[in-house]
Symmetry: C2
Subunit: 98 residues, 2 copies
């Protein structure tokens, strides 16, 4: 049956949507769309605490949505899941009209 495929896809999609369902995480991911960002840079852009940003990044990392790489004493984060960018682009069109 096709229902199982649809169900599996729905579970996967729902997981991604859950990752996007928090304004802080959403803004972090959006900030990564143009390219890599340092944790400190993300703190500034969000106006959020170090612990908050780092915590959300940890979660996003554990879900495979971002990956990081050390650069001196900083960590550079970037998007890692190819499904994120298309969804964010559409969200941008829908929620941030010209």
């Amino acid at each position: 049956m096709i229902a199982e495929k649809m169900d599996a896809a729905a579970v996967e999609a729902a997981e991604l949507f859950k990752a996007l369902s928090n304004p802080g995480r959403l803004r972090i991911l959006c900030a990564l769309v143009p390219g890599e960002q340092t944790v400190g840079a993300l703190e500034e852009q969000l106006g959020a605490s170090q612990s908050y940003v780092s915590g959300q990044l940890l979660r996003l990392r554990s879900e495979g949505l971002v990956i990081c790489e050390r650069d001196g004493r900083s960590m550079r984060y970037r998007l890692a899941d190819p499904r994120v960018r298309p969804m964010l682009e559409r969200a941008y069109e829908v929620f941030c009209p010209l």
Copy 2:
């Protein structure tokens, strides 16, 4: 500052994503993309209980994502928020490739 607009948009978008972050709700909304559906029809398509489907519909209604109309003893539900369809279409492209 533009940060406030971005923040407001992020909050709105995150709310929609939260509605989509449950496989059951997601499948209900997907089932409504082609057109109106009865509660019973949704129960069949999802293979879920009456109480479950009706409960999720109640929530989606309270968020303004769907609206319903009585038709005899049935209720016909349909999508009500113009932002839902574009997001689901993109999700379909991303998660249900040809």
